[in-house]
């Protein structure tokens, strides 16, 4: 049943009896046309766009836990397309455009809120870099504008503008950026994919990838062997583990990234704001909690929990930008496992094994990319070739040297 006002009113008079589960709990079939490994945002979006754009409906999404139990439910919910590299901008801008029409498309309230993303700069060289990035965005038709100190102060008056070490000079603003209710993205895509016939198989862990003569033939799972000639991996932090099953070693390290939420307060922070002198980003959820995060802990980890030094660092950066944060109490913190790539950009590509497709290397940027990632991955799986939006995001770029290194720090995953 569609989610709309008419049905809400009707059900109010019918005792809410006709609502059905948002997706089915089917038994695995013996064979599918494509299997997506990983029931997170990217996997579910891939299944949805395979069904919608490529008319492939005999598809399964296999997930070892419950859908949305990984990074799509562990991020800081930010969407934006304020990138610099030519290989990245069209991809992330496509993602932002898909976010803008997502709720109507999948008939699910994902609370897309284009509240504006501000990247604060603290000195002249950062200002020049921000303006350059803004120009790069505008050359690609993306909105970006530079706010000087006075304009920024009018918009966000409560930051520490005269901080002795990190005075605020201005900010790069992308007004179309913002936040989205993260869990709703997983649920919305799951419901929309299910409605088009996609089987979502939860508690179905992949334990092996079977290949014959250099081509995939199916996956071994905790619920038995499932045949398929096309297998797409969308496993984020666990990508290396699953790829090992097919004998692949990848240009990926898994790292833990922590995030935090404070007690709920009245509306304070209207936008998404990032600190330029370190790595700190913050927004306010609709429930009132301030949601924020910083850098990864910096060492390989699959633990989904981080350590205290990073908590301290993030808190220090937050207070340097907003002294008033010092009065707030943090309610919760959690960790997610990032698939950090060697140049800080993702990989959406085929592999040397026929029928095995790869979607990984999302670093910090996976959530905002969800719609375009699914859209491009579906194209790559269905057509067996990349779309122009993910043409630069090749696995082989590390051999050919065509890296997409947004920050220019080289092959050191914990610095991206």
């Amino acid at each position: 049943m569609r989610y709309n006002l008419l049905n809400v009113v009707k059900q109010a008079f019918k005792g809410q009896k006709d609502w059905t589960p948002a997706w089915r709990e089917p038994e695995p079939k013996a064979e599918y046309d494509a299997i997506i490994v990983g029931g997170g945002g990217h996997g579910l979006a891939t299944a949805y766009y395979l069904a919608k754009n490529h008319n492939m409906t005999n598809i399964a999404v296999v997930e070892k836990g419950w859908i949305g139990s990984g990074n799509v439910g562990r991020n800081t919910t930010i969407i934006r397309s304020n990138y610099r590299e030519a290989g990245n901008i069209p991809f992330y801008e496509h993602s932002l455009k898909l976010w803008e029409g997502l709720e109507q498309d999948i008939n699910f309230n994902a609370m897309v809120s284009q509240r504006g993303v501000l990247n604060i700069v603290h000195n002249d060289s950062q200002r020049d870099a921000a303006i350059r990035r803004g120009n790069s965005m505008r050359l690609h038709g993306v909105d970006g504008e530079y706010l000087d100190r006075d304009a920024l102060r009018k918009m966000v008056p409560y930051m520490d503008y005269d901080n002795a070490r990190f005075p605020i000079v201005g900010a790069l603003l992308q007004r179309r950026g913002g936040t989205v209710r993260h869990d709703a993205v997983a649920w919305g895509y799951a419901r929309a994919a299910d409605a088009r016939g996609v089987d979502i198989l939860q508690n179905c862990e992949v334990t092996g990838i079977r290949t014959e003569n250099g081509a995939v033939v199916g996956v071994e799972t905790s619920r038995g062997f499932i045949k398929s000639k096309k297998i797409g991996l969308a496993c984020a932090g666990n990508t290396s583990r699953v790829a090992h099953m097919a004998g692949l070693n990848l240009p990926i390290e898994s790292h833990v990234l922590q995030a935090f939420v404070t007690e709920g307060i009245k509306p304070l922070i209207d936008n998404v704001i990032t600190f330029g002198a370190g790595h700190f980003y913050i927004s306010q959820s609709d429930k009132g909690g301030l949601v924020f995060g910083g850098s990864i802990d910096g060492y390989n980890s699959y633990a989904q929990r981080g350590n205290i030094p990073t908590v301290e660092e993030v808190a220090e950066e937050g207070v340097a930008l907003f002294p008033l944060l010092g009065r707030l109490r943090v309610l919760r913190s959690w960790g997610g496992i990032m698939d950090m790539s060697m140049d800080g950009s993702p990989i959406i590509d085929k592999t040397d094994i026929s029928g095995l497709y790869l979607n990984c290397g999302w670093c910090y940027g996976g959530f905002k990319a969800t719609p375009a990632s699914g859209w491009c991955f579906a194209h790559t799986i269905a057509r067996d070739e990349a779309h122009e939006f993910n043409a630069a995001l090749k696995l082989k770029r590390f051999e050919t040297g065509y890296l997409v290194d947004e920050h220019g720090v080289g092959p050191q995953p914990n610095l991206h």
């Binding site: 980890s301 699959y302 030094p309 914990n414």
Partner: protein
């Protein structure tokens, strides 16, 4: 996380800088025949979910490079050795 440095004893991980997997070996020679080996050395990582040998630099201490054996799923540390060997 606390790392027991062979020179300095148990120290907080904040004193150390992390480089990464200690297993990839730098190839000999820079000829075209070594391109694949260099690609693997620079970019490809095993990235296991369990025990991991990794290079840490004691930047705020004795400035020695260490090979730490650690379970990356639990953060438990099993052993710390000098990267240059005991006689360094």
């Amino acid at each position: 996380m606390r790392i027991t440095c062979p020179h300095c004893g148990p120290r907080t991980s904040e004193e150390f800088t992390y480089l990464g997997d200690a297993n990839p070996k730098r190839p000999d020679g820079t000829g075209i025949e070594n391109m694949k080996a260099w690609h693997d050395y620079v970019h490809i990582r095993r990235n296991p979910a369990g025990e991991h040998q990794e290079l840490w630099y004691h930047a705020s201490g004795c400035r020695a490079w260490l090979v730490v054996t650690r379970n990356v799923s639990t953060h438990e540390i099993f052993g710390v050795e000098l990267a240059a060997g005991e006689c360094a």
